[in-house]
């Protein structure tokens, strides 16, 4: 368990993406009455899952740091997919924002964000604990 470990990178990458998602949702909410505005959606889960290749990892438990992690494809190049929300309800001025849906999305995003922060803290905590007890 070192500071470069894959799980930590996954957690921080997810954190970044959720921040972006919050911005997008804020944008949708602010433009809920703007004529012609199309609500936007953002997907990052697939890209992240592919980079992680979680199930593949179980078959190659790393016991030596010289071994490669399967699926540790660069986290730096991950791009989310941003597109018009296909489930938008079109109102008479061309606006497709569903404010209630956006609020629900926002709540879920916030919850997951908090969870990720907590998990990162747990990981950091364990590392610090291990460091402190070196004799």
């Amino acid at each position: 368990m070192d500071v470069n470990d894959k799980t930590l990178k996954a957690l921080t990458t997810a954190l970044n993406f959720r921040e972006m998602r919050q911005e997008l949702i804020s944008s949708n909410v602010a433009n809920a009455n703007t004529p012609g505005f199309k609500a936007k959606k953002m997907d990052f889960e697939e890209a992240l899952a592919r980079a992680l290749d979680v199930d593949g990892q179980m078959k190659m438990g790393v016991t030596d740091e010289r071994h490669h992690n399967v699926g540790n494809g660069g986290f730096n190049n991950l791009e989310p997919e941003i597109y018009d929300n296909p489930n938008g309800v079109v109102s008479e001025n061309g606006n497709t924002v569903d404010v209630e849906a956006e609020m629900a999305q926002m709540a879920e995003n916030k919850l997951m964000y908090d969870a990720l922060v907590q998990l990162i803290n747990k990981k950091m905590g364990i590392m610090k604990y291990a460091i402190n007890s070196e004799k």
């Binding site: 889960e45 899952a49 979680v54 990892q57 438990g61 997951m112 998990l119």
Partner: protein, 120 residues
């Protein structure tokens, strides 16, 4: 004893031939005090687990718990799993297991030092 992670701890134990050492200690102890330890019967040493093996097994289990926790976290981050409570539980289990193992490690080291201090 610089221990970087669980894997190297296992290695260190193996290298120090802790198996042989701890088995010898077990043998001496048991024959000296007639103490029945798990896996031993009637004061005789049978091929049960020695303390060193037991330790290595436990470390393996801790490692597995860590791997499980890591997997759970990655699945949560990538949205594959929506199970917040299961993830947190897995992380907590691994956390406790690691801290326990660390305590055990400390105790083993202390015991080792105690023994080394003994004048023969």
């Amino acid at each position: 004893m610089a221990i970087k992670d669980i894997g190297s701890f296992q290695q260190t134990l193996g290298n120090a031939d802790a198996k042989g050492w701890s088995r010898k200690v077990d043998n001496d102890m048991a024959s000296g005090f007639d103490i029945k330890a798990p896996g031993l019967e009637g004061g005789e040493i049978q091929d049960g687990k020695s303390f060193g093996e037991f330790l290595q097994d436990s470390i393996g289990k801790v490692n597995n718990l860590q791997q499980d926790a890591n997997m759970a976290m990655e699945k949560l981050a990538s949205g594959e799993s929506q199970n917040l409570h299961e993830t947190l539980l897995a992380v907590e289990k691994a956390d406790i297991a690691f801290r326990t193992m660390n305590q055990v490690r400390t105790k083993v080291l202390d015991a080792y030092r105690e023994i080394m201090k003994m004048q023969i």
